[in-house]
């Protein structure tokens, strides 16, 4: 027996298989490689877009970098890690972001107003004081400028935070507390770099 015999014997193959290979029947199993790649690419793009959408709009997600310079999420809600001074109204344990921050530098009296969500998200982590401790120093003994931040919330509440001399921190009528110099300096530089929204 030879290959020729086998070749000839193929003549006895069922007509069903002959017709199948002729293309008389539509066969979905032989996939178009190009279509496969396009479908896979489309799926990846949808996945990335969905992820980006969720990451951007999911409330309560704090994207803290090593130096905690940014808070993402909706303007009305944010999750603050370690905020224990009640520096902002809290809902369900989460810190509520203000809708407007007025930053005033005294005695020079440079005023900036921030209503942009992203800018507010950048400022707030630096305005939140972790593990606040009442200072043993007398702020009046130090000369320097003060940055006064007025926070306005969606429910109409307001709060005032004063950072004095990049060393001292006071909320509303509360006591003066120590603030890490680096945090205060970053806050000052950030406010200086951001453009006013009004």
């Amino acid at each position: 027996m030879t290959g020729i015999d086998l070749f000839k014997a193929l003549g006895g193959v069922k007509e069903e298989y002959i017709a199948e290979a002729d293309g008389s029947r539509k066969l979905p199993h032989v996939k178009n490689v190009t279509l496969q790649w396009c479908a896979a690419l489309a799926a990846c793009v949808c996945l990335l877009l969905g992820w980006g959408f969720i990451a951007q709009h999911l409330g309560g997600i704090a994207d803290y970098t090593g130096d905690e310079t940014k808070v993402t999420g909706a303007a009305e809600t944010a999750q603050a890690d370690g905020a224990d001074q009640g520096t902002a109204p809290a809902i369900g344990g989460k810190v509520v972001l203000p809708v407007r921050i007025t930053a005033e530098t005294q005695p020079v009296s440079d005023v900036k107003v921030f209503t942009d969500e992203e800018k507010i998200g950048q400022i707030m982590p630096l305005l939140l004081l972790k593990n606040a401790a009442e200072t043993s120093d007398d702020p009046n003994a130090y000369g320097g400028s003060a940055n006064i931040f007025t926070l306005e919330y969606a429910n109409g509440e307001t709060s005032t935070i004063t950072v004095y001399g990049n060393l001292f921190y006071k909320k509303d009528d509360g006591p003066w507390c120590d603030i890490p110099y680096e945090q205060a300096e970053k806050l000052e530089e950030l406010v200086r770099s951001l453009g006013s929204d009004e």
Binding site: K8, E15, Y17, H29, K31
Partner: protein, 185 residues
């Protein structure tokens, strides 16, 4: 152009237009098929004409479900037989004489050959039923329709390497299958 069932009805009605309609619809494909087996155009033409005669004699009583598959099988078998005869003519006179002498040892050489061919065909049909659709398509297009690897790849929108790999694996499987079925090549 008439539908397959309409052409089959013409055969059943013994209408002479049956062959004309068949040629109009499938003549080109049948010529391509026979031309791939028989090198000479005249032989290929003769093969196609013999196919129409075969179809005329087969219908009735047959009423094939897929007319082209039916015709293609007739055409291919006729072409293979013609090829056998052409090759036999090319052998030296001495060899031809020898094979003729040996064939006398077989009581009914035609029947024996047909039985063998049937056995292999049955094995092939069983084997083909075990294959995934892709592999079966590639195998049939290559070894039944004698398409090139490139043509197969273009037809099904896949790469040539995929077709080659599939054919290689299918041949390996066929060899093992035929060995298990005690059909030795």
């Amino acid at each position: 152009m008439k539908e397959d069932h309409e052409i089959i009805e013409l055969y059943w009605a013994r209408s002479e237009s049956a062959v004309h309609e068949t040629d109009a619809k499938y003549g080109a494909k049948l010529h391509t098929l026979s031309g791939r087996i028989l090198p000479e155009a005249e032989d290929a033409e003769e093969c196609v004409n013999d196919t129409y005669l075969g179809a005329w004699n087969a219908m009735p009583p047959q009423r094939p479900l897929a007319l082209f598959a039916f015709l293609a099988r007739i055409c291919r078998n006729i072409a293979c037989d013609k090829l056998d005869k052409l090759r036999a003519k090319k052998r030296s006179a001495e060899v031809s004489a020898l094979t003729e002498e040996l064939s006398a040892c077989i009581a009914d050489p035609t029947a024996a050959r047909e039985a063998e061919s049937r056995e292999i065909a049955e094995a092939l049909n069983s084997f083909l039923s075990t294959l995934p659709v892709d592999a079966r398509l590639f195998f049939m297009r290559r070894y039944w329709y004698m398409d090139s690897v490139k043509a197969i790849a273009e037809k099904y929108g896949c790469g040539e390497s995929r077709v080659k790999t599939s054919l290689h694996r299918t041949r390996e499987k066929l060899r093992n299958y035929l060995q298990k079925a005690d059909i030795w090549l």
